[in-house]
């Protein structure tokens, strides 16, 4: 128990002293997760909307599959991305294994099911009468879809927050495809993993607290936007 209190003190110390290595990995954690969350949202919100609005054979099976992948272990995604981008793999030529780029891609793949599934769920929660009302007011199909997305905007923002949360908190994928290289691909979660395995419990707890603080700040910002 003492470790937790010591860890808290250490966290405060690291933040106040602007410890360069901690700042560096915190900054990298943020950059990678914010990037992957934004990019994935840009793809998944339109894609999820399309799946929701159009009816096609196998739609139910697809949604079922998407929800199943909510539970995919991060290390499995890591393995998958590793095998693809390894030089021995199909996209090895791109030479992005063990770089932050690979980590962003890995996190994007990881949070895609959650973003898709929750987007579809958010849109399903919108009253059907909204669609009728919009169309009766002369909205084209596209305008109607945008109106529905607009009605669901609160739930959509919650989706993005969820996606970001899953991205910034994962270890397995970042470790496998990033390699936890000091000064290059080390982020807070992989650093916690390493420090814990070295027995540096205080430092690990401190890093954990810093990660939560970052997440709190990001979520507060997103919440403010959500309230608008």
């Amino acid at each position: 128990m003492n470790e937790i209190w010591q860890g808290f003190l250490k966290a405060v110390e690291l933040i106040i002293s602007l410890d360069p290595e901690v700042m560096e990995i915190a900054g990298r954690s943020l950059r990678i997760s914010v990037t992957s969350a934004l990019l994935a949202s840009t793809i998944c919100i339109p894609l999820g909307s399309t799946i929701h609005f159009y009816n096609f054979r196998g739609k139910r099976i697809l949604i079922n599959l998407i929800q199943t992948f909510f539970s995919v272990p991060t290390v499995c995604i890591g393995l998958f991305v590793f095998v693809i981008f390894s030089r021995a793999g199909p996209l090895g030529e791109l030479n992005i294994l063990f770089t932050p780029t690979a980590m962003v891609i890995g996190q994007m793949i990881l949070i895609t099911p959650v973003l898709l599934g929750l987007t579809i769920s958010a849109l399903s929660g919108v009253d059907k009468a909204i669609s009728d009302t919009a169309r009766s007011l002369g909205a084209s199909n596209l305008q109607t879809m945008l109106a529905i997305i607009r009605e669901a905007r609160y739930a959509m923002m919650a989706t993005v927050i969820m996606g970001f949360g899953r991205a910034i908190s994962e270890v397995g994928c970042a470790l496998m495809v990033g390699g936890n290289i000091r000064g290059f691909t080390r982020i807070i979660t992989t650093a916690i993993s390493l420090e814990t395995s070295k027995g540096e419990l205080e430092l690990s707890i401190a890093l954990g607290i810093i990660l939560l603080t970052l997440a709190l700040i990001i979520n507060t910002i997103l919440n403010r936007i959500q309230q608008r």
């Binding site: 990037t35 290059f184 395995s197 700040i217 507060t220 910002i221 403010r224």
Partner: protein
Amino acid sequence: MKKITSLLIALVMLVSSVGAMAGCDNEEASAVSPLEPQERLRVATTTSLYDTGLWGYLEPMFEEEYDVELDIIYAGTGAALEYGRRGDVDVITVHDKARELQFIADGDGIERVPFAYNYYLIVGPEADPAGIAGMSPEEAFTVLMTTGSGQFVSRGDESGTHGMEKRIWANAGYEYTAVQEAGDWYIEAGKGMGPTLLMASEKQAYTLTDVGTYLSYKGDLDLVPIVDEGDVLLNVYSAIAINPELHSDTRSEMADNLINFLTSPDIQELIGEYGVEEYGLQLFIPCAGAEPGA
């Protein structure tokens, strides 16, 4: 409330950019672009070279001299060999002669260049419940196997150290599968050297370790040397450059530079002096490319 939002956004951007700048000090140019302007050399290393801090010590020196980014990837010998086979790294530094020779025979590596060595030892609780202190490694293992009077934590991860452990079992006349089934006293950790030592300390068990990691380990270890004499306990670290013919973008020139660096007289001297002041013992004995006679 809008003010608080702007404040928080500013804070986030500050952290990100301070992080980026701090990262620049730590040699990072751009976070996400795959086209880094600076050359990067990837090395997969066995955990003991990393856990002792030797790589952390040598890395900046090499980077400065050759103006290159060194990416050290913490693996185990087994994982490092696999990365090497796949061409995901340019150099591997490992310590399992038999597998290294196979690696080269398979055409995956060019040449095996030993650059340092030390010794393995069996460490354990001061109380020594199995009474194996001072025995030879094979004798000690035999006692553990037959009496089950002490717990043993194995690396269990196909690392060089794990390979050494298996060789001792074989020397003592046991099939490794039999050892794995022998009982609850045999624990397969599946971890790197440092974490394995921690576990052994926690459980007050015996384990096989290289002297470097054992000495330099930052965690509190409640373990003492139990068995440290035996021909078999020689631990040779070698660097192998990946065969550029198999993977066209291997940076073979820089890989050669690294190997030359590791075997250069100045660096060899530094390797030999590493940790002496702190621990009173050499952690690594330089051997400049030549196979050390045991």
